[in-house]
């Protein structure tokens, strides 16, 4: 426990300072003996809890497990393929502020009535540092880097042979600091992320034809663009409404819901032209806008969203995604739910 935390705890409701201070000191020693400090995993900034969103990453470092995340949609190919993804992601805090996530996706692709393919996508690892938490403003900022490891998946489902490195920034802001006259806006929060994906190969050349008379070889060139990836969410927290704005006396099941809209886009920004394609075809932003609901239980959450592509290159028709997500810091608070090294260098703690 930090001195400031203890001071803050002691500050409230002290009718008998010395006796209360003694109790606090005993409790503080007890926590110290157990090697624990007040834990603030999940994604909290003051009174604000940011749930784990399904499409974009939440802005915090936490001990959590998303297993499974299942999505089904039609791809932007012509003809469109039906794609079913089943994925899992395990996130672990190394320190209070620094964590690593490992994720894997199993994909099944098929054209209705036609051939199909199935296999693993490349392994993905994300390192994230939560460098600012400002409780009064319900603000969280993090920076990280995500790496997709080439040759760890199956080419039949599109896994690439090269690595892709994506430096990223994450942000979360709750509106609980609005004046009480704007009470019904206070449960709103937004999150966002932006990243720049850099493939480690500039291009892939494949032989398209060989002239048997001259021995000349023609190649098709597939360039691997750099992508700007960006997205965010806007969410309305019923738990926040009930606990911090007004208790409407609704049944508990409603008080645990977070309706939200997420959006995720990517735009090729460099090295985009590929053999057979025009700049206009390949320089197109793709993405989806997903609308749904997260139910926040005590130790896990369940979320479901409709996936709406923003254009034909992003997909065809409306798909869906559903996720079961566990708060490991609550389920295993003394083992894998704790940071390996319980130190913090976060601004605003």
């Amino acid at each position: 426990m930090s001195t400031s935390t203890l001071r803050h705890a002691l500050h409230g409701g002290l009718a008998q300072p010395s006796k209360r201070a003694n109790l606090a000191a005993v409790a503080a020693v007890a926590f110290t003996v157990h090697g624990a400090s007040p834990a603030a995993a999940h994604c909290f900034a003051g009174a604000r809890f940011f749930p784990a969103t399904l499409t974009v990453d939440d802005p915090c470092v936490a001990d959590e497990l998303s297993l499974p995340t299942i999505s089904s949609f039609k791809t932007g190919d012509i003809p469109a393929h039906r794609e079913l993804d089943i994925s899992g992601e395990f996130s672990k805090r190394i320190t209070e502020d620094f964590g690593v996530s490992v994720g894997r996706t199993y994909t099944r692709l098929w054209v209705p009535g036609g051939p199909g393919a199935h296999g693993w996508q490349n392994l993905e690892t994300t390192f994230k540092y939560q460098f600012l938490t400002w409780p009064q403003s319900e603000l969280v900022l993090s920076a990280g880097v995500s790496i997709e490891w080439g040759r760890t998946g199956n080419a039949s489902v599109g896994a690439e042979k090269f690595h892709t490195v994506t430096p990223m920034l994450f942000a979360g802001k709750g509106f609980g600091d609005l004046p009480s006259s704007l009470g019904f806006l206070r449960p709103f929060a937004v999150t966002g992320q932006v990243g720049y994906a850099i493939p480690t190969w500039r291009r892939t050349l494949t032989i398209s034809s060989i002239d048997l008379d001259t021995g000349e070889v023609d190649f098709d060139e597939e360039r691997h663009p750099h992508f700007l990836q960006y997205g965010g969410s806007i969410q309305f927290s019923m738990p926040y409404l009930k606990a911090n704005v007004v208790d409407l006396g609704l049944p508990d099941v409603f008080n645990r819901m977070v309706p939200l809209v997420e959006a995720s886009f990517r735009t090729p920004v460099r090295n985009v032209v590929t053999t057979g394609n025009t700049l206009d075809e390949t320089n197109r932003t793709t993405g989806t806008v997903n609308s749904g609901l997260i139910y926040v239980a005590d130790k896990f959450q369940i979320g479901a969203e409709a996936i709406i592509p923003i254009n034909r290159a992003s997909g065809k028709g409306v798909g869906w995604v559903a996720q079961l997500h566990f708060y490991l810091d609550d389920i295993f608070p003394t083992t894998i739910g704790r940071p390996i090294i319980p130190i913090s260098a976060r601004i605003g703690q």
Binding site: A28, P38, K242, A243, V246, D247, L328, D330, T334
Partner: protein
Amino acid sequence: MKSNRQTLLAAAFVAISAVGAHAHAQLQSADPRVGSTVRAAPPVLTLNFSERVEPALSSVQVTDAAGRRVDAGRLRVDKGNSQQVQVPLRALPAGQYNVRWRVILVDTHKTEGSFGFEVRP
């Protein structure tokens, strides 16, 4: 599909492990109720949480519209129900009041929040 079965088994294991574990405290109810208007404030503010609270490291402050403290004693946790926190209040005249709470659970998880209520005779 063997991998899918393993995925579901792993999810089921974690779900079963979740039974009985602690969680972050949620404010389940308050008296006076969050955001309410009451004719007369009760002599004691009561907060009910979803988890057991460690009283020595938890705090509750009640202030009036001018920011003056109007809680009248130290925070108490019911021995028979350590999820319930009580704080004595002074006699509150008509006006707006703000409750700011910060609780630490017996498993060291912390949660905080604040809400208002109004006394209007």
